[in-house]
């Protein structure tokens, strides 16, 4: 059976999992970490960095490091979220050719899907290294509030990365899947997801036969663990300023170290009551001497620094429950997802709000990826019966007179679905009507997302309000929205099929896929060369270390002198191949080097 990987493509961190022998498992990356920062950077030398390595230079190379690309994916250039990102991001964001968003790294423009594809490609590689074979299919998670364009852009990212994204599922649904895996539970649960960059609260209903339904979802895309880090950094910077009158923010290297130390301290304070931030040589003073930063921080201080942020999450929870017309008692279980939920203060606050202890049965960093892997496995395994009901993430409707929005399919309606409504003309002798299809929750049309528009013509001339037009919305199982408009008197009809778009053309996607493939070929070949070079250099150094001993042993006779010359020749050829970066030639010398090394070791061992 083909392996399907589950990928949690997070705003700040990503995670990949598979189901092995019926057990969902998270795959660690090469560094042994189970999550990989969703960061991409390009160095001065043009080298691409993804993951931890990109994160470690994120401040010193801020203009060329992309973080939180997920906030931009599938968004239109003129959306408020993009404007917000332009104002707050250190990297350059420019308008794309299709009113989409592009990111500039070292003077090259990348689409947001392309950047996300680099992260997905890294996750694919992690899985391939672990499995020892190529991986083709994936289930990728997205926030429950993502609209169709954002979902499509995520799918495009997968395609660019060389993955066939067989399903996009909601993150809270994936977490609930992970929670409900192997259990037969029917209950309403809340998923409190406080990650590195975003906060989401979702209320789900787990029905019989493993049916999961998102009842309500809300969140804040600019609220996460990074805000808590920022508070710790502020505290450290202010303390240092008070002591030395130096603002550490002015130095990028100092700021990079502060960011790393703040995150580390925050994580440590989840398990210990006090920790120390020790950053020697953080900055040089005007007198050309380096100053050190050494300060203790305790849990109470961290709680004070972050209390308003935690309170904001609770306000969102309160509003979401209210919108869903649910009481706290209706929620049978609260799942904590996201690294920030390890913070004791958050666990306590959530417990106080929901008036129950949160469930500790799911892993905060891994549950979403595990849920995606479970869904992936179910999709390719006919024996599994789990059914996931997809819901519409946002309400669908049309624009009506006065710029109002008329909802036809409410938010969170399970798909497939079909709804119809009758409208009338708004002017006398109106012979055509424009149907503007939109997605969103606002009563004002301009605040919602435009999905498409079409015109129904040939209406009978009549006074306003007397011509009736039936508008039907239909969403099939693949999430494709069809809108029909029919003049009930004449029977004339017109329709549109709304296909979500990431803002990329097919040709662009194809070119990006080729670029990604070329990158992979180059990367594999570099890795191959590096592996061969390291081995060759190790053995060459061993041989060189043995030269004096072997020379001494054979000095008394002519026997073996030619072997020494040959050995020198092999080492010289190897070094020349390494300097030419000729992987094939280096590999070709490995056998000879190994034989020589064995022979030298044998000679030395026999003599001693």
């Amino acid at each position: 059976m083909e392996k399907v990987i589950g990928i949690d493509l997070g705003t700040t961190n990503s995670c990949v999992a598979i189901v092995e022998n019926g057990v969902p498992t998270v795959i660690p990356n090469r560094g042994g970490y189970k999550t990989t920062p969703s960061m991409v950077a390009v160095t001065e030398a043009g080298k691409r960095l993804v993951g931890h390595i990109a994160k470690r230079q994120a401040i010193t190379n801020a203009e060329n490091t992309v973080y939180a690309a997920k906030r931009l994916i599938g968004r239109k250039w003129d959306s408020p979220q993009v404007k917000n990102a332009i104002a707050t991001s250190s990297y350059r964001i420019v308008r794309g050719p299709h009113a989409d968003v592009r990111i500039v790294l070292r003077d090259k423009e990348y689409s947001v899907s392309e950047v996300s594809a680099m992260v997905l490609q890294e996750m694919k590689l992690i899985a391939e290294d672990y499995l020892g074979k190529s991986v083709g299919k994936a289930v990728v998670t997205v926030p429950a509030y993502f609209n169709d364009n954002q979902r499509q852009a995520t799918k495009d990212a997968g395609e660019i990365a060389g993955l066939d994204v067989i399903r996009i599922i909601n993150e809270p649904t994936a977490a609930a899947l992970s929670y409900g895996f192997g259990k037969n539970v029917e209950r309403t649960i809340a998923v409190y997801d406080f990650g590195g960059g975003t906060f989401d609260i979702s209320i789900l209903e787990i029905g019989s036969s493993g049916v999961f339904k998102v009842i309500a979802t809300a969140g804040d895309t600019f609220l996460g663990g990074e805000d808590v880090d920022a508070r710790i950094i502020d505290w450290l910077v202010q303390g240092f300023k008070d002591e030395h009158s130096i603002d550490l923010r002015q130095d990028r290297m100092a700021l990079q170290r502060l960011k790393d130390a703040a995150e580390k301290a925050k994580c440590e304070l989840s398990s210990v009551r006090e920790t120390e931030v020790n950053l020697p040589f953080i900055i040089s003073s005007g007198r050309n001497e380096a100053l050190h930063l050494q300060r203790s921080i305790d849990r109470e201080t961290l709680d004070d620094l972050s209390s308003d942020l935690v309170e904001r999450t609770i306000d969102i929870c309160r509003q979401t429950l209210s919108d869903a017309r649910l009481r706290k008692e209706d929620v049978a279980e609260v799942l904590l997802v996201g690294g920030m939920t390890r913070m004791p203060k958050i666990q306590l606050t959530v417990a106080e709000f929901f008036e129950r202890e949160p469930c500790k049965g799911v892993h905060p960093d891994e549950s979403v990826a595990l849920g995606a892997a479970i869904q992936g496995s179910a999709l390719v395994d006919d024996k599994q019966e789990m059914v996931l009901l997809d819901v519409t993430p946002h309400a669908l409707g049309i624009m009506t007179q006065g710029g109002n929005f008329e909802e036809l399919i409410p938010q969170n309606t399970t798909v497939p679905t079909q709804r119809a409504k009758i409208f009338t003309t708004s002017r006398d002798n109106q012979t055509a009507v424009k149907i503007v299809v939109m997605q969103g929750e606002s009563e004002r049309a301009q605040d919602n997302e435009l999905l498409g528009e079409f015109i129904l013509t040939g209406l009978k001339r009549a006074t306003k309000g007397s011509v009736e037009i039936e508008v039907t919305f239909e969403i099939n199982a693949d999430g494709i929205v069809s809108v029909h408009a029919k003049d009930l008197e004449t029977g004339k009809e017109q329709s549109i099929e709304v296909t979500a778009s990431s803002g990329l053309t097919r040709e662009e996607i194809t070119n990006m896929m080729e670029g990604a493939r070329d990158y992979m070929v180059e990367r594999r070949s570099t890795e191959e060369f590096e592996a061969a070079r390291q081995e060759a250099e190790r053995v060459s150094a061993e041989i060189e270390r043995l030269f004096p001993q072997v020379e001494q042993i054979v000095a008394s006779s002519d026997f073996g002198r030619d072997a020494i010359e040959k050995a020198r020749g092999i080492v010289a050829k190897t070094r020349a191949a390494i300097s030419r970066r000729d992987a094939a030639a280096v590999k070709a010398e490995l056998d000879g080097l190994a034989r020589t090394h064995r022979m030298f070791k044998g000679v030395v061992a026999k003599t001693h």
């Binding site: 001065e44 390595i53 230079q57 170290r257 020697p280 050309n288 380096a290 250099e537």
Partner: protein, 304 residues
């Protein structure tokens, strides 16, 4: 130490048939404090790359032409023992005397002793040998294998090497001398041809700061960078090598380094390769290599 005492000492040496190349076995026959000061003066601030700028080039002996300079032109301090000895025969400039200070710092005195020890070998080098060239020669010698026994009683080879490199790379001493360079391009080429790539690079960058389109300087800068990068890379070993911090954490804060070195040091986690650290540093490659090289030289870091 007075000139008279120096003359007597020189006469005594001549009577004993000692050559100038002999290593000293007692206090050096020149003004130790002046030498220490000269060595210290030739050190740029720690933030800057090693340089053999006008202040530390030893290719000019103080003769009549360098005396009585117009106002505003400061005299270069003596940078080699040969130069000091040459000057011992005549009166030293009053300007140099004016700058004299009393050395009470043991470290500076030790540096002076180290410099004097190596300075004895100066005549074997080309007449234009700079302090950097001497330092590089010492460093190369050290890296090629065990060197001859320490020329100074209690000092080890490592002390000597550190001392000489410290004289070039160290920080703390103010740079107070400048020599007016009439033709920076010619000077740049001369330094490059003498193997003083750091000095040549510095001049090339000065020229480029005035005239960014100067192809000659751009080419020289590029070449110097390549040579220096190769030199530091060769000394650090393969790019796949993993640096590790060998100084205990508790001792770290007592080391002498600037915040840039501190930052590079913070990137060393025992897993990341040299190549990775160069990528992470966000600094120009040459600067990062230079810092890593210095950390290895100072035995703060070792490469596995």
């Amino acid at each position: 130490m007075t000139d008279e005492r120096q003359k007597k000492r020189a006469a005594s040496r001549e009577r004993q048939g000692a050559s100038k190349n002999d290593r000293p076995t007692e206090s050096p026959p020149f003004d130790l404090q002046a030498l220490a000061r000269a060595t210290a003066f030739s050190r740029p601030p720690h933030d800057d790359p090693p340089r053999t700028g006008a202040s530390c080039v030893g290719n000019q002996t103080p003769d009549a032409s360098t005396r009585g300079k117009p106002e505003g032109v400061r005299e270069a301090p003596p940078s080699s023992i040969a130069e000091l000895e040459g000057g011992s025969g005549g009166p030293r400039s009053s300007m140099a005397r004016d700058r004299e200070i009393t050395l009470t710092d043991e470290v500076e005195l030790e540096r002076a002793r180290v410099a004097s020890a190596l300075g004895r070998e100066a005549p074997r080098m080309p007449a234009t040998t700079s302090v950097l060239t001497m330092a590089n020669a010492a460093a190369r010698g050290a890296s090629e294998g065990p060197a001859a026994s320490s020329p100074v009683g209690k000092l080890t080879q490592a002390d000597v090497k550190t001392g000489v490199l410290g004289a070039v790379h160290g920080s703390g001493a103010p740079e107070i001398t400048q020599r007016v360079i009439d033709d920076p391009a010619a000077e740049m080429h001369e330094r490059f041809s003498l193997g003083d790539y750091t000095g040549a690079l510095e001049l090339a960058e000065l020229i480029l700061a005035d005239d960014a389109k100067n192809l000659e300087a751009a080419e020289c800068s590029e070449n110097c960078r390549t040579v220096l990068e190769n030199m530091y890379s060769a000394r650090l070993g393969p790019a796949g090598g993993v640096p590790i911090v060998v100084v205990p954490n508790a001792h770290m804060r007592w080391l002498s380094m600037d915040h840039r070195a501190g930052f590079v040091l913070s990137l060393i986690d025992g897993k990341s390769t040299l190549d990775t650290i160069l990528d992470l540093s966000g600094m120009p490659r040459l600067d990062a290599l230079h810092i890593l090289h210095d950390l290895v030289q100072q035995k703060v870091v070792a490469v596995k």
